[in-house]
Amino acid sequence: TVGAVALDRYGNLAAATSTGGMTNKKYGRVGDAPIIGAGTYADNESCAVSATGWGEYFIRLNVAHDIAAMKRYTNLNLQQCADSVVLKKVLALGGDGGVITLDRAGNFTMTFNTAGMFRGYIREKEEAHVFIYK
């Protein structure tokens, strides 16, 4: 699975996710990536989210929207919201994976509960950074 979240100079957020799914999947199985609110979500009032991981868990927990709702309706910062969902709720159910998130202030997270996640970021007037391992 791959994904991106972006903030443009007009203050607008966007999220995108794309995947081949699960090896050997049957019966037209679909994971969280194309389900709005599960693997992909964006709202200028909260944040943009793209997820990767064990789709069934991300669907059940409505992960992307849960992070966005937490950001919108609580006083938690973005990192706390992402950590709360990915490192606590998803893990507690037995799922694994990660998310990238970004808000209108330019705060972002790359949160995952696995050994690694291919990831990177770039911001205005900063060098790009890419990572693989924890």
Partner: protein, 176 residues
């Protein structure tokens, strides 16, 4: 806030000891290319929706990542792909699922968002809609990747065993 782009290329049991240096370099190179592609749009005053499409398209085109070209194989030997996009400024969203002939599924998702009154389309219908909207269609063989194929063969053998889900040889238990 400052214009910003963040990307991912999947998470999992990704350990340094399992990735050869040249493969690691290839992963990093494509991640960098995806960032460059999307950021160029943002730096030029472009929209965030266009930036995320540009970044994801680069990743979909690289067989190293499980999206677009190089997607994993389904039980029936197909590459079935899904994609979604959402615009935070107006809550418009579009997605496609179970598509096998759309070269860049993220561009089909964008077409669903902007050129239909729907949010999600699946299978043959999504492919017809994408074709009608001028999104590039390819033969399913375009998505074939030999590494993924071997991975699938290995998983199929393991799937015949009742202990397949407990076997860690393939380093991933999320098999269909």
């Amino acid at each position: 806030g400052p214009i910003t782009l963040v990307i991912h290329g999947g998470a999992g049991t990704i350990l340094k000891e399992n990735i050869a240096p040249e493969k690691e370099a290839a992963y990093l190179k494509t991640l960098q290319a995806a960032l460059d592609s999307g950021f160029q749009i943002l730096a030029g005053g472009g929209r965030s929706v266009d930036a995320v499409i540009a970044a994801v398209t680069i990743l979909e085109n690289d067989p190293l990542f499980n999206a677009g070209r190089g997607s994993v194989f389904s039980e029936s030997g197909k590459n079935e792909m899904d994609a979604a996009i959402m615009d935070g400024s107006n809550l418009m969203a579009g997605s496609v699922a179970g598509v096998t002939t759309i070269k860049n599924p993220i561009q089909a998702a964008y077409a669903v968002m902007t050129k239909s009154e729907h949010v999600m389309m699946i299978g043959a219908g999504a492919e017809k809609f994408a074709n009608d909207q001028g999104v590039a269609i390819v033969d399913p063989s375009y998505f074939f990747d030999s590494t993924r194929y071997k991975q699938w063969q290995k998983v199929k053998l393991k799937a015949q065993s009742s202990t397949s889900l407990l076997d860690n040889v393939t380093r991933d238990k999320k098999f269909g």
